[in-house]
């Protein structure tokens, strides 16, 4: 109250006395002029400075969000591709491992059977050799048995009867005995 009284004392109240102030035409010109000036300046500041700034800020942000979303999409696709490649490689590796195992088993089997065959062949050869020698020795022995028998017979006959037999008679006798 004191403040407004003090203000009222220092300021000259304008307008027509006894007229409701908002409807006092005496104040219209001044208010219109100042409204035009202030609102004009306000409109200029808003349309030239504030609105371009704000729309710029919002545009930059929405661009940024769009770009970030695109980047996310791209990275996700990359990750998916990497996962697919990994899975593919893993499947390949599994398949390879299987085939390698099969191959080496086959190879080992083949090698061992080849080795066995070789050993068997060698053994068979050696056996044949041995048999041949045995046969040879046997034949030799058999042939020598005849000679020994003749000799022995001639010696025994000589010792027993003091006679002397021809080789042909002895051989004939021995072979008839051997039969």
């Amino acid at each position: 109250m004191f403040i407004s009284q003090a203000l009222a004392a220092t300021e000259e109240a304008s307008g027509t006395p006894g007229v409701f102030p908002p409807f006092d035409p005496a104040s219209f010109a001044s208010q219109l002029l100042w409204l035009t000036l202030t609102f004009g300046v306000f409109y200029m500041i808003m349309s030239r400075v504030i609105i371009p700034r704000l729309s710029g800020i919002l545009e930059v942000r929405s661009d940024r969000i769009t770009r970030d979303l695109d980047e996310t999409q791209r990275l996700k696709a990359e990750a998916d591709a990497a996962l697919a490649a990994y899975e593919h490689d893993l499947a390949d590796a599994k398949k390879n491992a299987h085939s390698i195992a099969m191959e080496s088993t086959e190879k080992a089997k083949a090698e061992s059977s080849a080795a066995r065959e070789k050993v068997e062949a060698e053994l068979a050869e050696k056996m044949a050799e041995a048999e041949a020698r045995i046969a040879e020795i046997k034949a030799k022995a058999m042939s020598e048995v005849g000679t020994i028998a003749n000799d022995t017979t001639s010696v025994i006959v000589k010792d027993l009867i003091g006679g002397k037999l021809t080789n042909a008679e002895i051989t004939k006798a021995v072979s008839s005995l051997v039969k």
Binding site: L7, A8, A13, P22, S30, L33, W34, Y43, I51
Partner: protein, 250 residues
Amino acid sequence: MANDPISQFQLKTYIPLEIGGMDISFTNSALFMVATVALTSVFFIWATSGRGIIPSRGQSFAEMTYEFVAGMLRDSAGSEGMKFFPLVFSLFLFILVANMIGMFPYFFTVTSHVIITVALAFLVFFTVIIVGFAKNGLGFLKLFVPSGVPLAIMPLVIAIEVISFFARPISHSVRLFANMLAGHITLKVFAGFIVSLGSFGALGVAGAVLPLLMTIGLTALEFLVAFLQAYVFTMLTCMYLNDALHPGGH
């Protein structure tokens, strides 16, 4: 003088000016218009100076205001209406801040003077007429001819449409002015009761609690009205601008 509820609307001359017999003095009304413009501009320039991708509080508030008004305009006038955005944004902020500043005790409420709201309403009214004719030519007159009306009552309907169109600036301006004026008078009357009752001794002081509570409630209500009237004024502006762009569309 300071106790009557009308004195708050009294203009006071600070710097007397006169051109050609016209009184164009710098008054408290002019001062508060300058204050409204200065305060709003400084706030928005400060708030948007960072231009952060992640906004500060001030910037966030500025962006919300921008989105709020832009949404309002886009909803009523479509994306075509966005070329009026500077006008609508300026109107909304000017009225809102002028209303809010007026809520401070001893401060002058610019929008409580009918000449101000009439001027703003006519600004919108003439913008609508000029843009309407510039964009649609005589097709703008379709605004007065609603589609699907029987021919027999057409003249009556056109007459009503024409009257309602020319009544727009009146209703547009008086709504804002009357709300601000009435609200401030009511506040002042109830606040005056507190002082008057308080001078009647202890019983009076006890009784003064009632108008005090009323004043508190009314103050809250007036803050709501201050925002709501700025919103309504802007909303109607958007709808009128829509008529200028799409005259046949209602």
